[in-house]
């Protein structure tokens, strides 16, 4: 069902917890001390509130990212680049067989407004869902003092390469990004750039590991360099990816440091397929017909290679492109 004119509504405030409840289209959202509750005409669902908020702020910050963002096995969003589906049970076999699955399509801006309104109401001072659990407080309990700093820190997206004049800056002490504790053991020397007279500013290099080591968010990539539509994203990962990602195209992971464990499942049914453990130097494709979730025991550096060519999602969805990147004997 498409709901072109939907806007988020605040439907009430719980007198005991202080949290507001919301409606977008047929979906309702409320929270208590421990859980988020999502309702729709055929059913309802409960999600632990830390996980719900970690997923929601990333979904906003990513601009709904590529393809499917599962907050858990049941609830999530699908990006159609202009419109966004909110679904419950639509990609869960049991929900479909029970006939309780639900999906509505909204303008992306309406979903962004709704998720921002919910996040701002449900997140109190002392809790930052973009930080690793060891670096922030807890969201459980009644509503506290409102946060005044930005809840959402979006992609840092270089146009050509981080640090070039006029492009996005590299993180540093000056930008307010100290080296994170888990990467304090590395050396961070700068590359040596020697320009001949007349070519000053035309050569460029950065310490990419330092940029990642200074990231104040986890599981939230930034684009460091772009070759045509070949996009290099880098990110620091700690604890668990609070969503399950089902891409609408093939993507690639390059493990730069440490170790990440990925669980792999069928994208449409959620049926488990197995796991991949990636260590420093490993490279692995994430095919377009899976969903994956990452677990990083220690903060790790990950590079993700994406193909940002417009319209790829429809070419994969139609079967024109295969849901895996290379063929060999």
């Amino acid at each position: 069902m498409t709901v072109p004119d939907a806007r988020v509504e605040r439907t009430g405030t719980d007198p005991d917890t202080g949290y507001s409840s919301f409606r977008l289209g047929s979906f309702t959202f409320r929270r208590d001390e421990y859980f988020a509750h999502v309702g729709w005409p055929k059913g309802s669902h409960i999600i632990e509130v830390d996980r719900f908020l970690r997923a929601m702020v990333r979904d906003i910050g990513w601009g709904f990212f590529y393809g499917w963002i599962f907050f858990d096995d049941l609830f999530g969003t699908t990006n159609h680049y202009g419109t966004v589906d909110i679904f419950a049970g639509a990609y869960d076999r049991a929900s479909r067989e029970a006939g309780i699955d639900w999906l509505e399509t909204f303008p992306a801006e309406a979903v962004r407004e709704a998720f921002e309104a919910i996040s701002q109401d449900w997140i109190s001072e002392g809790y930052d869902p973009l930080n690793a659990p060891l670096e922030t407080g807890s969201p459980i309990g009644p509503k506290g003092k409102p946060r005044t700093d930005p809840l959402v820190r979006s992609f840092i997206a270089a146009d050509r390469m981080l640090g070039l004049p006029g492009d996005k800056p590299v993180r540093s002490d000056a930008t307010g990004h100290p080296i994170k504790r888990a990467f304090a053991d590395l050396d961070y020397e700068a590359p040596v750039i020697e320009c001949e007279p007349g070519f000053e500013g035309q050569l460029h290099a950065i310490n990419l590991f330092e940029h990642i080591a200074r990231s104040d968010v986890t599981w939230n990539p930034s684009i460091s360099a772009v070759t045509r539509a070949n996009i290099c994203c880098v990110t620091s990962e700690e604890h668990m990816l609070p969503v399950i990602h089902g891409n609408d195209r093939n993507e690639w992971f390059i493990q730069l440091t440490d170790e990440i464990h990925w669980t792999i499942a069928d994208k449409n049914s959620g049926a488990p397929r197995g796991r991949v453990v990636m260590r420093a130097g490993d490279v692995c494709a994430m095919p377009a017909d899976i969903r994956h979730q990452g677990f990083a025991p220690k903060r790790a550096m990950l590079m993700v290679m994406e193909n940002g060519t417009p319209g790829l999602e429809t070419r994969y969805a139609s079967g024109e492109l295969k849901p895996y990147p290379v063929e060999f004997g």
């Binding site: 070039l164 304090a184 590395l186 001949e196 070519f199 035309q202 070759t227 993507e251 453990v277 060519t309």
Partner: protein, 167 residues
């Protein structure tokens, strides 16, 4: 608590594992250091392919020839120290083929732009309009973000794990 960051190198790396009930070729699981360890110097071996786009692993050992591409490329050094030297190309010397690097027939006759000395974790712009050469005294490893081109080597069956065991 003190943390120890694990990085890999040509001499020391621990490959991960893949255990999926699926065709492992779909995941093309490889390791940069393992690929570089079995590559000839300056072979540009694809470890990532996204339709027209690739990431190539390059074992840098000694001095390469001169490369140029009709677009920006980017190199990340993953092990060792690499010196990138740049020469400005005249307009007619800039390659105009579809994409990816080509090896020039010799040193271009344009002006030297300078050089970048990069070590592990450094990302270097290989700018459109310039020729570049890579050099390393000791074997080093770089990943190059580029377009599938005439120098891209594809030997997926040789570099990808096709059985589900770790080592």
């Amino acid at each position: 608590m003190a943390y120890r960051t694990e990085v890999g190198s040509l001499q020391s790396y621990r490959k991960g594992l893949i255990e999926v009930d699926d065709d492992l070729r779909k995941y093309a699981f490889s390791n940069i250091f393992e690929v570089a360890g079995t590559s000839a110097p300056f072979e540009r071996v694809a470890v990532v392919q996204n339709l027209d786009y690739v990431a190539e692993v390059v074992r840098v050992e000694g001095a390469s020839g001169w490369y140029a591409a009709p677009h920006d490329e980017f190199a990340i050094v993953m092990d060792g120290e690499v010196a990138f030297t740049f020469i400005r190309l005249a307009e007619g010397q800039v390659p105009a083929h579809g994409g990816g690097a080509v090896l020039l027939s010799g040193e271009p006759n344009g002006p030297r732009m300078g050089r970048v000395i990069a070590r592990r974790g450094h990302q270097v712009l290989l700018p459109h309009g310039a020729a570049y050469r890579m050099a390393a005294e000791a074997p080093a490893v770089a990943i190059v973000q580029t377009v599938d081109g005439p120098l891209t080597v594809k030997r997926w069956a040789g570099i990808c794990r096709l059985e589900g065991e770790g080592r």
